[in-house]
Each structure stands twice: as C-alpha cells, then as structure tokens.
Symmetry: C2
Subunit: 335 residues, 2 copies
Amino acid sequence: MVATIKDVAKKANVGVGTVSRVINNHPSVSENIRKRVLEAIEELDYKPNAIARSLKINSTKTIGVIIPDISSAFYPEIVRGIEDVAKDYNYTIILFNTDLKLLKEKDALNIIKEKKADGILFISNTVSKNLKKELKKVGIPIVLVSTKDEEGEFHNVIIDNEIAAYEAVRYLIKLGHKRIAMIAGMKNDPNAGIPRLEGYKRALKESNIEFDENLIFYGNYKFKSGYEAMKNIIKLKDKPTAIFAASDTMAVGAASCAMQMGFKIPEDISIVGFDGIELAEYFYPSITTIKQPRYDMGRKGMETLLKLINGEEAPKNIVMDFELVERKSSTKIKK
Amino acid sequence: MVATIKDVAKKANVGVGTVSRVINNHPSVSENIRKRVLEAIEELDYKPNAIARSLKINSTKTIGVIIPDISSAFYPEIVRGIEDVAKDYNYTIILFNTDLKLLKEKDALNIIKEKKADGILFISNTVSKNLKKELKKVGIPIVLVSTKDEEGEFHNVIIDNEIAAYEAVRYLIKLGHKRIAMIAGMKNDPNAGIPRLEGYKRALKESNIEFDENLIFYGNYKFKSGYEAMKNIIKLKDKPTAIFAASDTMAVGAASCAMQMGFKIPEDISIVGFDGIELAEYFYPSITTIKQPRYDMGRKGMETLLKLINGEEAPKNIVMDFELVERKSSTKIKK
DNA sequence: CTGTTAGCGCGTTCAT
DNA sequence: ATGAACGCGCTAACAG
C-alpha cells in the first residue's frame, strides 16, 4: 500500500495539517518538526497524491494539447517546445490527435474538461465556426498555435504566412526568375493555403509579373500532391524556371518527380519550399525554404497560456519571425 | 460556476447516487428517472469531474508515456499508435521527453506516480540498471517499447534487430555485393547499436566474407555522423560497393555525401538504411531500408499495457515483424 | 429501484 | 506553531 499524508503524520507524531505545511513549504513550521516530518516522508517514500490535491485546490497542473497528427512532420517540434516550458513550470501535457476531425476535436475538449486541465493549446489549421463555439465555453484559457482565428477572438501564435510567401517568391524573383509556378496549399485553408497564395501574387505584382492562373497547382501539403503537380508542370509548353511550394513535403515531391524525369535541380529548375522541416534540410539537393520557428512557437504558446492561467495579461496576436533559409535547390536563372 | 453532481441531483429531484448511476450506465435506474436525470445533465451542461472520480476509484484512465524526444523522427508514429488505442479505451496519455537523461526519466516517473497514472509506456534505447531500480518500485504496470531489457524483466515490444540487420546485409550480398561497409550505431547501445552490428557480421560470415574492421564506421544515428562516415569511406583505397547504415538518417547523410562527391546511387554504391522513417521514403533516390512497424509497436505496447492494467496475462517478450523495403538506393553490383 | 452517507487524500480554516 | 475537522466531487455500500 502506498503511503498517504496520514501515515506520514502518524509516523512523525504530528497532525496532517503540519505535514501538508511542510510539503507545501509553508513557513510556519518549526525546524525540528519539519525535520521530523521530512524524515517520515523519506522513510515511507511518501509521494503526495496529485489527484487529491487537484480536487482540493481545483488545479491539475496539466494542460491539454490538441494537434492534428503527431506523426506529421510539422508538429513534433511544436509539442517539444510546449513540453519543455511546461516541464519548467511543473506542468504536464496530455496529448490528443484529431486528424482535423471536428468530432475528435470535440472529444478531446470534453476529456480536457473532465480531467480539469488548467489550459488548452490548440494546434491546427483553422478553428471552424462550429468548434469555436465549443472553445468559447470551455471556461479555461486557450491559446491557438499555428492556427488562424479569422476573427481574432483567441490568443494565438503564428507566423505571417502571407509575408513569408511573399519573401520566398521575391527571393526567386531576385534570382532572376520570372516564370514561377506555385504548388499551393488547399484553397479553403485560411491559415496556410490562402495567405501563401496571396503572398505569391503580391510578390509577382510588385515586380510587374503577370499572374498566370495556369501556373498554380493545388495540393494538400503532402509528397504525392507535390509529385503530381510537378508532372503537370513538366507538361507545360512554356515551363517555369522556378517553383514555390506551400510545403517542404510538396517541394520534395516535386523535386523527386523532376529529377526522375531527368531535370536537374537547381540548374533546370529552382525550388523553394515552406515550413523548414528536417526533410528539406536532408534532401539532396537540400531545399531552400521558409523556416517556421516551430519549437519556439510551441514555447511561446505555452508561455502565453501560462500567463493567462495566472491571470496575467498577454498579447493576443503573437507573430513570430520566420527565416528564409537558402540552400541548394534554388539558384540564379541560367541565361 | 461549473455544475456538480449535486446540482444535477437537485435539479432532477433525485439523490446523487442516482445521478452517479445514470452517468455510469448502471442498469438499475427506471427509465423515466434516467430520462429526467439526463435532461438535467443536458440543461446544466454537466460534465463529471474526472479528478473526483479518480480519487474515489483509484484509477485515472491516464497512462504515462516516456520518450527520448518527440521531435526525433523515430518516435512520433509510436506515440500515435499508443494514443490511438488509448483513445479507443478511453485512456489519455501524458507525455514526457527525457533526452535519454536519467534525471529527466526519474522526474517523469515521479510525476507519473504523483498523478497516479494507471500504467507506463517507456520508450528508449535501454533501461539502465539505475533506472530499472526505479521502474521496479513504481508499483504500476510498465511496458517497454523499442527498448532492450537485457534481463528480460519487463514486458516489452521490439523487433529483432540482429535478424533485421542480418536480412539487410544478406539482401546486399544477394545483390552480388561482397565488400560491404557498415555505418554502425553506438558501441554501447545494446538495443540498436550492438545487435545490428552482430547481424551484419553474421550475414558476412554465413557467406564466407571476411569481416574487415576497417569497413566499420561508428555513428550516432544522426545525419552528420552518416555524412562524416561516408567521407572516410570514400577515402578507402579499396572502396566498398555497398553500405549498410544502422539508421535511415545516417543512410541519407551518407548518400548526400556520396552524391556531393559525384558518386551515383545506386550505380556506384548501394545503400541500405534502417528504421523506415519518412525521410528514407522521400529521399531521392529513395532509400532501401528495414522498416520497423513503429505505429503498430505503439499500438501493441498500449494493448499489452492495457492487459496488464486489467490484470490479464500478456506475453512478456513481443517481437514484431520488420519489413525489408526495397527501393532505389540499392541495386545489383555492376560487373 | 432509489436516497443517504461514508470515505478517497489532501489543503485550509479555526481554535488552541 | 500546530492539531482537529470540514469539504473538494464522486462512487459504493447500505438501508429502505
């Protein structure tokens, strides 16, 4: 049987209140009694029951993390960032994969409520109207990470996807490229899909390059869709000299297809990705990309959540810096 | 204020016991009363307080997952497998990253104890003697995943690394390769380092190929170590025609180095990796590898743990099937 | 079938 | 400074 506070009290010949005080470092305990209690705790290998404590103080020191899929390359670093700061503050995280399914998201929320987490970190693409309703009535602090909240009702940490895409394309233009295709994200994705396409358009416009609808290929951020897009790009009579992909995985898919077809990267075609996942770095040739500070986004999200939990103020819309990482998949246009 | 069971009882004009019964689907509740209670629950948006319940029934329906680093490519799928079956059985997972540091492992164990998880899934390389002592006295079921327990004292799910490595090398030999280098794991890693090297040796021996110490290069499973190893391999006067790497990441590092030096893969040199992570699949050329069923290992680990939690029997040493996935990085030796 | 009540282990008054 | 007692919300045992 595992020891309780009572056992410790008995063994130390004190009341449970006193034991509680020494556990919680309450000042008003005389030195010798404190020592006696500590000894008893040691001897019994007593560990406070966090469940009982939580019930009493109405705080569990755990936070719920809701994520589409931990096995998707984008998310693990975010979670790591979260857990690292959680650990620093003696919080524990409970993890839920939702596959972006509303039903699973709701389930996760319910469990989080029932288990009385102190806060929620919600990582996704968007919050649907439907889910937002649920989110609003959970009654505990919530921070959105890498998730667009179009009405700006929740605290969230994010990068500016439009600007990032704009920078990526501008980089390509500076390299001399004029005919730049885009393997875009999903049309209905307000977080990554739409703004990245907008950024692409703006960069073109700024350089007086006419937007050509035929150069846009929609994908779902995955390898295959990048690969398929490239198949079509290759068929173009007037081939682009560069491609901007809305995800690294699509960029790699596109590169694989191109190389398989005998094209050289970056000599024949430059490719720029988005996200900054490991795959882009280790691919050969390494993929130039927009690196999202995923680890720090996780950290910042958790830090913000902690502030909210403690009743402190926190900036609502936190925009993190991205980084354009030049690698081997992009080069000056050959002339 | 959030509603409690008392509020529901009052609203439905019944005792709390009755409310508890309907929540827990206890059969002996008359239909009309059950309906009345359900309505009250609905109206008050009542959610049972899992903390209070846990305190009472002494089970939290949560399990602790201890992992080296969720942002390392090998682990996310395992965790996903775990969470998927956990969800099916209404369990929740709390996640801890340890970076293989004993101190963090111990911390994680303590929190798991204090938070009264029902079981532990420990994912790592090895359990040190030191940690094993701790593990033994946690007092709740534990299953080791992808972790070698040399004394076989814990339940664990794993692949047979020696056989897998043996198969990989045998495959290379069948392709006609005789001079096969190995980029090995760490010498002191009993889980992946040692057995994979042993398997390599056995395959060689079986085919009467003399083991050549100079063909062994030790790495740490990471990209850079594979890359560096390849640098040295290339310097060899009598170059190998094939390389077996103890991890996909090292295989990719080696391939990158080779290609950068102007070698063609697989024409000039065949490469086989180990693990079956996404990187190996998406690399160009795609990397032949030993695929570990990571998702299923997670599932099986959780399923086993559930059995232990429920007091059922479960096989102690669960060896999963790996798969040799032939891809583009390996080919018959050119003659 | 249903209401009442005693804890689960702890933190916190309230006396002392 | 310290002990006794109450209650956090719930389940289970008991009585009816």
